[in-house]
């Protein structure tokens, strides 16, 4: 990344690397603090903002509109399928969608067409678990997951 190499930036990068799935700035900060790292929430926000600008992370929004970040694979931007229950995520092949977007661009005369695609569902683990009495309870919504499920998605 462009900026200076500070202890804090390194910590954010490292914490991000330890996450398989999407995390919010707040979550990442909480992890860092829990890991005895001294860093301000503001700094985490700024580091993630910069990383986003540099293309170092992929971003999605949670149901409340908040940003969730995930380190971007080396091979460029990707789209993900995210479990609404446990928060686990996996990149999906989106060639078709990319082509579709290009085609729309050509047909409509719009320029600089960009696309956002988010897939959410319930992963095998989550919908297999016998709690299928109606709608699953844990949701991919910050308000309902003050630790459960999503936790498993990061290393230490």
């Amino acid at each position: 990344m462009g900026g200076r190499t500070t202890r804090q930036r390194r910590a954010v990068l490292s914490a991000l690397a330890g996450c398989q799935d999407f995390v919010s700035a707040q979550e990442l900060h909480a992890r860092l603090v829990a890991d005895a790292q001294s860093i301000g929430l503001t700094t985490v926000y700024r580091a993630l903002r910069d990383l986003e600008a540099e293309g170092g992370v992929d971003v999605v929004r949670d149901e409340a509109g908040g940003r969730l970040y995930r380190r971007r694979p080396d091979d460029g931007h990707r789209h993900y399928l995210i479990c609404r229950c446990c928060g686990s995520s996996r990149p999906v092949d989106s060639e078709i969608v990319e082509q579709w977007a290009d085609q729309i661009a050509a047909e409509t005369g719009f320029a600089a067409v960009e696309h956002t695609v988010e897939l959410t569902g319930l992963c095998a683990d989550c919908h297999t678990t016998e709690d299928q009495e109606g709608v699953p309870q844990c949701r991919w919504d910050p308000a309902h997951q003050d630790s459960p499920g999503r936790a498993r998605s990061c290393a230490s």
Copy 2:
């Protein structure tokens, strides 16, 4: 819609019908007030929240994560191509994406897969206008459009 038929609900529905493009709760409220309608912002939020729950509107998020609403065509949910400059929107054919999403669901074992797709670009009008010196200035971002462009998208 389910609830009671009050003057306010009717006004919201009507204002929404007069909009071709996506509007925020705040914008809709401003329009209503400008139109001499007496209605509280809170009420507009509640009406839109209810409409969303009933499937009466399509929703997208602006760059800041805020919700933007648009009356849903009678033939079910759609995806849109929105101009980042003037805010105009048009439904696009997304059959391919729907199928793609279904296929992903089948391949991954995820259940209840839902998708969000947003296409943004610069419409013919906006990128034809000679202001092509570099990046267009007006953006599909609430912070940069305190009236220009987007205005044209609603009737009256």
